[in-house]
């Protein structure tokens, strides 16, 4: 439990819609320094907040269609989906305390 799931264009809708808790989707890429910096923080949050939120990732290199669909123009961007629709958007890398503060409504 608490593992981070990699989403693709094929699995995105199903996984996000079916979740009974909010899903934090991290749009990232291999070449993005700040994305790499927050990856371990998101892993910690996924484990510590297991049952309250899920954390998933979208690699924008492999899934440019999803980035376009959600108007992602800067990474990292984290979008919180609640009941299948966008509820909140966090743009840019942040430290763990600030991320937890942004996600507080769901925790």
């Amino acid at each position: 439990m608490g593992a981070i799931q990699q989403l693709s264009e094929a699995t995105f809708a199903e996984e996000v819609n079916a979740s009974d808790v909010p899903v934090v989707v991290d749009f990232w890429a291999e070449w993005c320094g700040p994305c790499k910096m927050i990856a371990p923080i998101l892993e910690e949050i996924a484990t510590e907040q297991d049952g309250k939120v899920r954390v998933a990732k979208v690699n924008v290199d492999e899934n440019p269609g999803l980035a376009r669909q959600f108007n992602v123009m800067s990474i990292p961007t984290m979008i919180v989906f609640k009941d299948g629709s966008e509820d909140q958007r966090i743009v840019g890398a942040k430290g763990k305390p600030q991320l937890l503060e942004d996600l507080a409504p769901y925790l």
Partner: protein, 330 residues
């Protein structure tokens, strides 16, 4: 990367050396002080998409071609990961936290993370090495807050990908502006460099490459007055500073690279600063105006500002701190 939650590891330990900042300067100071058995504690900062972050400005760059020892170049984030690994190898205690306050009025010096109003500092050090670097300047216009991440960016390597086949601009005229502009030509249809003067501050080799790149063009003597668009960038209002003429250009992306400001807010009123905000160090040393506090890297360098000079000054700060501690009998 994991950090103890604030407060749980607070104790009365006084470290010989606390280092603030984790770019080439801070991590080199860590490597040297760790090898000198001074058990450095390094507060590396917290992730952000500006250059004020763990690893420093190189975390937002691509290829570094001028760092000696890498004849084929190396990616900035990769270079900084190696610095960090080397610092850890010799036992540096790295905390992924952001310093919110320092007290340099008495020794040992106090360093706070988290709540700056907390009665006791989180860490205490006999010596303090300041390596907080510099962060990117923004344009300072209203539209910035609305459009950051929506067509306005401070990180070409992060966001260039989203501007495939678009007409975009880079604001600035130094090496980092040209590096960004050239990187962006891999994706964009055209890249226009908007610079407030008629000539560039960038190095000759960068200028030659930029002028040879046919996707790149220049708007000289020009400044950005505003960015148009509610939810995404739709145009850029450019003013010619010679003629005063104002035009709106149809760019859909704006990358800002107009320079840096030193991260010295923490030290204002406690350490002597130059008029431009940079820390003052005594000639040919890393000593600041407070005994036992040493500074290295871009936070005290408004002239060279290179990764290699930052690393060199980090080594100086480590040796200065070591010899000072020894003279104090620590």
């Amino acid at each position: 990367m994991s950090a103890e939650p604030n407060g749980t590891d607070r104790n009365d330990d006084v470290r010989p050396v606390v280092i603030v900042g984790s770019g080439p300067a801070g991590l080199t100071a860590a490597i040297y002080t760790a090898r000198a058995n001074l058990q450095p504690l390094l507060v590396e900062g917290e992730p952000s998409s500006t250059s004020d972050q763990p690893g420093g400005q190189l975390m937002l760059t691509t290829e570094v071609e001028n760092f000696p020892g890498f004849p084929d170049g190396i990616m900035g984030p990769e270079l900084m990961a190696s610095f960090r690994q080397q610092a850890m190898r010799f036992g540096t205690d790295i905390r992924t936290e952001k310093v919110t306050r320092v007290d340099l009025s008495s020794r040992p010096f106090g360093v706070w993370v988290g709540d700056p109003e907390a009665p006791e500092p989180t860490y205490r050090g006999q010596a303090l090495i300041v390596a907080t670097g510099a962060s990117s300047l923004m344009l300072g216009i209203e539209a910035e807050r609305r459009l950051l991440g929506h067509g306005l960016s401070t990180c070409a390597t992060c966001d260039g990908f989203f501007f495939r086949d678009q007409d975009i601009c880079v604001v600035g005229g130094g090496d980092s502006a040209l590096e960004e502009a050239m990187f962006l030509t891999r994706f964009a249809r055209s890249v226009t460099v908007i610079h407030r003067r008629k000539e560039l501050r960038a190095s000759k080799i960068m200028q030659d490459r930029a002028f040879a790149n046919e996707k790149l063009s220049f708007l000289w003597d020009s400044v950005v007055d505003d960015i148009v668009g509610e939810t995404t960038v739709e145009g850029v209002v450019v003013r010619d500073v010679q003629t005063g003429e104002v035009t709106t250009k149809p760019y859909t992306g704006v990358f800002v690279a107009i320079g840096h400001r030193p991260n010295t807010d923490l030290f204002r009123g406690q350490l002597d600063l130059k008029d431009n905000g940079y820390l003052i160090t005594a000639a040919d040393t890393s000593r600041t105006s407070v005994e036992g506090v040493f500074a290295c890297g871009d936070v005290q360098d408004d002239w060279y500002r290179q990764a290699i000079t930052a690393a060199g000054s980090g080594c100086m700060a480590a040796i200065d701190a070591e010899r000072w501690l020894e003279a104090q009998g620590h």
